[in-house]
């Protein structure tokens, strides 16, 4: 049986365009203020317990490869243009 899954946002890539918030049928994601990035806000998985886990609308619509619906506990590793490793695990 499939493991428990949750959307994971890679903050480095998120541009806070708001498309994922718009398509989510269960209102799981929201944009929160984050003054450390140039867009001024950041997508956050606010209500992961509401996620239906199968639709993957947020993953499909995210234009900047910032959202993955991943199994809980899996580590995602990316390398950005500055050579830093960006990890985000749950």
């Amino acid at each position: 049986m499939a493991a428990q899954q949750t959307p994971v946002v890679i903050n480095r890539f998120c541009t806070s365009c708001g498309l994922c918030v718009d398509v989510c049928p269960k209102n799981v994601l929201e944009l929160v203020e984050d003054l450390h990035v140039w867009t001024g806000s950041m997508c956050k998985v606010a209500r992961p317990e509401d996620c239906v886990r199968k639709c993957r609308f947020c993953e499909a619509i995210c234009p900047h490869f910032a959202i993955s619906v991943a199994d809980v506990g899996v580590e995602l590793v990316f390398q950005d243009s500055h050579g830093q490793m960006v990890t985000k695990s749950r």
Partner: protein, 275 residues
């Protein structure tokens, strides 16, 4: 099953160059998802692109890639396909690149029915060069070179490709990425010239001049504008004006593929050559 996107991307090139909320990323993601579904090897793929916003897509994927001259993506892809018939060749380019400056190459690749997949990322504008109107800009909408509204008629990519002789023609939009992925997968699988018109969103250049500057608003507009083919059958002609019908429009399995026809033509000659 989740798609392992980093496997198909050149991760040192990320983050993407496109604007926040740009539809090109959604089309690229759908394409990678379709390739992941087919379980094709990265070394068997070639992605060719011309010049433009969407054409930057070839720089981000970890296949064999070629970034060619403006409009000349299709001739380069044709050459690659003729030299390496076993390779899966994809052309990923914008509407200005494929239909304006490369329009001639586009129709002739369709006519020859050569086995390449042409993804026309159709955002109705020349995004990179400053928002000039393109052959697909809808009549009446504004662009930097048409500040009072476009007076030209626009191309219907589906009808153009079908008329030119492409054997697989489909249209999807960024408002429905899951369906777009299905159409791309079918197009990749198809043996012959396949054209996928991927309606993309440019809120920076097209949307900003047409009161749709927000990416969410523009994707919502595209969602309202598109009608699936099944639903379109029951609508009248008046109801369909200004709408874009999505779906798979044409698939012809009979017409002979060009690289295969060429191989059949040259085989007797190659066998009779005395060295």
């Amino acid at each position: 099953m989740s798609v392992d996107y980093p496997r198909y991307l050149r991760n040192d090139k990320l983050p993407l160059y496109w604007c926040p909320g740009c539809g090109n990323g959604i089309v690229l993601k759908a394409l990678l998802g379709a390739i992941d579904d087919l379980r094709w090897e990265k070394d068997d793929m070639v992605m060719v692109s011309g010049i433009g916003c969407a054409a930057r897509g070839s720089g981000y994927v970890d296949f064999h890639t070629l970034h060619t001259l403006h409009g000349r993506a299709v001739p380069a892809a044709t050459a690659i396909k003729m030299c390496h018939p076993s390779m899966h060749v994809i052309v990923f380019s914008g509407d200005g690149d494929m239909l304006a400056i490369g329009g001639n190459h586009f129709i002739h690749a369709c006519r020859r029915n050569i086995n390449i997949t042409m993804v026309v990322v159709n955002n109705w504008i020349y995004g990179m060069t400053g928002g000039q109107y393109s052959p697909t800009t809808p009549p009446g909408s504004k662009a930097s070179t048409m500040p009072q509204g476009n007076i030209d008629s626009n191309f219907d990519v589906v009808e153009l490709a079908r008329g030119a002789g492409a054997t697989f023609v489909a249209r999807g939009s960024v408002a429905e990425p899951a369906l777009l992925k299905n159409y791309l997968r079918k197009g990749l699988e198809h043996k012959g010239a396949s054209v996928i018109d991927a309606i993309s969103s440019c809120h920076t250049q097209w949307g900003g001049r047409n009161q749709l500057g927000d990416p969410v608003q523009l994707v919502e507009h595209i969602r309202n504008m598109t009608v699936s083919r099944n639903n379109a059958d029951v609508l009248s002609r008046e109801e369909l004006t200004g709408k874009l019908v999505t779906g798979i429009f044409h698939q012809d399995l009979e017409k002979k593929e060009y690289a295969q026809a060429y191989a059949e033509l040259s085989r007797p000659v190659e066998q009779n050559v005395v060295v």
